[in-house]
């Protein structure tokens, strides 16, 4: 019987390590061909069409205006280009932490950002538009008493504030991403949003209900490339940008990505239409593997660590007991997403180690889950008849063997339902690793939403996948329970 469990455990571990091996390096995208022997890493947030996005129907390559320009410049400078996708708000911290060499994300240089990073000259000047589905909004003054949405921390936020100064009763709502803004307009939570022309074009093309107008005198700071302070890349990029402006290459790229594609002018779509996201479903499904790997590794880490903590909690050594109790108290007493962001963002700041999103996620979830698992296991151990311990001791069995082979197996049987619950919670909560850019099911659903401008369908698809995974776990738990109750 012990042999069987050992073989099983070894197998599970093997699978996990082989899985972990190929998933650890986040989601890099290698250059088309390894032409040069030096590499530049570009940070971007691939949900900002047409600057950078993923055509999820075709695959998982990041494309767009910025990508073309970046590739052109990198090539001229003799570098291969590697693109790292992450949340827009994580881009400047990523530069800080030297996770990326430069950032191109339709980013406008503002004073706040300039404090932290250097910018190139602008390579594209955008105009700011008011985008709305309310036909009565035709000029700034019509926004009186309305809610307007902006992307958090963007230049549009400033623009909206200027409007609010001029027009009465304007409320400004902030969202992390432009697609969210459009979605909020469609669901009538916002009356309008401030969006850059290049970005707005795509939405306007695909959505006959939307109209727009240019904000008069709007700041057109333009997009620029961001670098680490003092980087020698800044000058090199400036030279290439100047050259591209001069010879018209930049205009060509702009034409390719920003000109409205008239043939796409869509007829009104039905409210729910899975056919539009059909081609993108395989893209979402690929997230299952990422989520599974993530969940399995996290559960195992949490379980092993939780067991150790539980043993500390029942130990006679005060320091161990207090330590384990404090640990549990901290991890249960703070939000999971805060723990995730601390581990992901603060690790590079404090140690200089550029922790990968997957590793940061697994660590956070493993450490967090351990706190809960340790409580469950402690209760399980206390629930095992004291006589079992005495019988083992009387036979001369060591503490370690007794715990592993006598006490814990019996404790596990009693706490299996509680453990299964914890694992199910972890599986569902794993969706929050999307915020650090791990392309799990959730993040992929969001990317498809940003690409197709439809939200219900990809989110429902993700929901169904999560539900099926939870059901599978539930069934697995029942089977295990049945197996373990053989002895009764």
């Amino acid at each position: 019987m012990f042999k069987k469990t050992h073989v099983l455990l070894t197998l599970v571990l093997l699978v996990i390590f082989s899985l972990a091996g190929n998933v650890l390096p986040g989601q890099h995208q290698a250059a088309a061909k390894e032409k040069h022997n030096k590499t530049l890493v570009m940070g971007t947030s691939a949900d900002y069409a047409p600057y950078e996005y993923i055509d999820t129907a075709k695959g998982n390559k990041i494309i767009g205006f910025d990508v073309d320009v970046a590739r052109h410049i990198a090539d001229k400078l003799g570098y291969n280009l590697v693109i790292k996708d992450m949340d827009f708000n994580g881009l400047v911290p990523a530069l800080d932490a030297k996770r990326v060499d430069f950032v191109m994300a339709g980013m406008t240089p503002n004073a706040e950002r300039k404090k932290k990073v250097d910018f190139s000259n602008t390579y594209y000047k955008a105009k700011q538009l008011i985008v709305t589905n309310d036909p009565k909004i035709k000029k700034i003054e019509d926004l009186k008493g309305k809610a307007i949405g902006v992307q958090l921390g963007s230049i549009q936020e400033k623009e909206a504030k200027k409007i609010a100064d001029k027009v009465d009763n304007v409320t400004i709502e902030k969202r992390n991403k432009v697609p969210d803004l459009v979605q909020e307009i469609m669901s009538k939570r916002f009356n309008a949003a401030v969006i850059e022309d290049g970005v707005a074009i795509e939405y306007l093309n695909k959505n006959p209900d939307l109209s727009s107008f240019v904000i008069p005198g709007s700041a057109s700071a333009g997009s620029a490339v961001a670098f680490q302070k003092g980087s020698d890349l800044t000058e090199k990029f400036n030279k290439e940008i100047a050259a591209m402006k001069k010879n018209g290459e930049l205009d060509q790229y702009a034409k390719k990505w920003f000109e409205p594609k008239t043939e796409k002018k869509a007829e009104k779509k039905s409210i729910v239409d899975f056919s539009t996201i059909m081609p993108s479903i395989p893209y979402i499904l690929k997230g299952i593997l990422t989520t599974l790997k993530f969940v399995v590794v996290s559960i195992l880490l949490g379980f092993v660590l939780g067991t150790i903590l539980a043993l500390f909690k029942i130990s006679k050594v005060n320091v161990l007991r207090w330590g384990a109790d404090a640990y549990t108290s901290i991890f249960r007493g703070t939000p999971l997403i805060l723990q995730l962001l601390i581990i992901y963002n603060a690790t590079p700041q404090l140690t200089g180690y550029k922790i990968e999103p997957f590793l940061a996620g697994v660590l956070t979830f493993g450490l967090n889950s351990a706190a809960y698992v340790s409580e469950i296991i402690r209760a399980g151990i206390n629930g095992v008849d004291k006589g079992q311990r005495e019988a083992s001791m009387a036979l001369g069995v060591s503490y370690g063997s007794m715990m592993r082979q006598i006490i814990l197996p019996q404790a596990l049987k009693n706490i299996l339902p509680a453990l299964m619950n914890e694992f199910i919670t972890l599986t569902k909560e794993s969706a929050i690793i999307a915020v650090i850019g791990t392309t799990d099911i959730m993040r992929r659903a969001q990317i498809v939403g940003a690409d197709t401008y439809r939200y219900f369908e990809p989110l429902i698809t993700a929901g169904i996948i999560y539900y099926l995974m939870v059901m599978a776990l539930t069934v697995l738990g029942r089977m295990l329970e049945r197996r373990m109750s053989r002895g009764d």
Binding site: D385, A391, A394, G396, S401, D488
Partner: protein, 240 residues
């Protein structure tokens, strides 16, 4: 075999054993009797250090048990113990219950351990139950498995703490019979029991405990016929 000198045990402020001294010789069978709460279990559990004595010495084959915390596992291997409530490992089959300690503690090859275990099961009359889980056995069968489990470690002494008190009356005999044959085979045994008939028949000596004091230490014939102390007389009047 076992020498106990001035054994004291205190739980908090409650002094349960108040200086007990005695000896158990090789091959001797000692019955420990006395009223409930008199410290019989505690006395027995001090011998293999399941309870740590507060004061006094216990020697096992001239080795001091009480000062050798690190060697206690070595000593426990040689001292088998049988509990009132069996404490079999419920997640293991009968056979695994018997082979677990020899394989894990003594590193005995599994096959050898299984052969020995089957031999022991035959001795306690349960050779057909090796694949059963303890949950499916009767109380008497459980206790016989527990005895076999302790014997599987080849102990030099066996401690029994009220081995038949949790059993239905009709199962008491089958367990006592196993113990009797074990006594006849020359095993050194200390038995806490309320089975006076058994004590009279099988024991070489009777220890009578009351209030944590060893009140009487005598051969059964003498003890049961004419106990010296009033306390023992009162006790016997009640149980006989």
């Amino acid at each position: 075999m076992i020498k106990i000198e001035n054994l004291h045990k205190t739980f908090g402020k409650n002094e349960v054993l108040k200086g007990i001294s005695t000896e158990i010789g090789q091959g001797e069978v000692v019955a420990v009797i006395g009223p409930s709460g008199s410290g019989k279990s505690t006395f027995l559990r001090c011998i293999n250090m399941l309870e740590e004595p507060t004061e006094g010495k216990i020697l096992f084959k001239d080795q001091e048990v009480t000062t050798q915390a690190s060697k206690i596992q070595q000593i426990r291997k040689k001292i088998g113990m049988v509990f009132q409530h069996f404490h079999l490992f419920p997640h293991m089959t009968v056979l695994d219950n018997l082979t677990y300690a020899p394989v894990t503690v003594n590193k005995m090859p599994k096959r050898e351990a299984e052969a020995a275990a089957r031999e022991l099961l035959k001795r306690v009359g349960l050779e057909d139950k090796e694949g059963e889980y303890p949950g499916r056995l009767s109380g008497g069968q459980k206790q016989r498995v527990a005895i076999a489990r302790a014997l599987a470690m080849n102990p030099e002494v066996m401690l029994f703490d009220e081995p038949t008190s949790a059993l239905d009356p009709e199962m008491v005999k089958e367990v006592l019979d196993v113990m009797k044959s074990l006594a006849q085979s020359g095993m050194t045994m200390a038995i806490v029991t309320h089975e006076m008939g058994f004590a009279k028949e099988v024991a070489d000596r009777v220890l009578f405990l009351d209030g944590g004091i060893l009140v009487e230490d005598a051969v059964p014939a003498k003890f049961f016929a004419q106990p010296k102390s009033e306390r023992a007389q009162a006790f016997l009047e009640k149980v006989l």
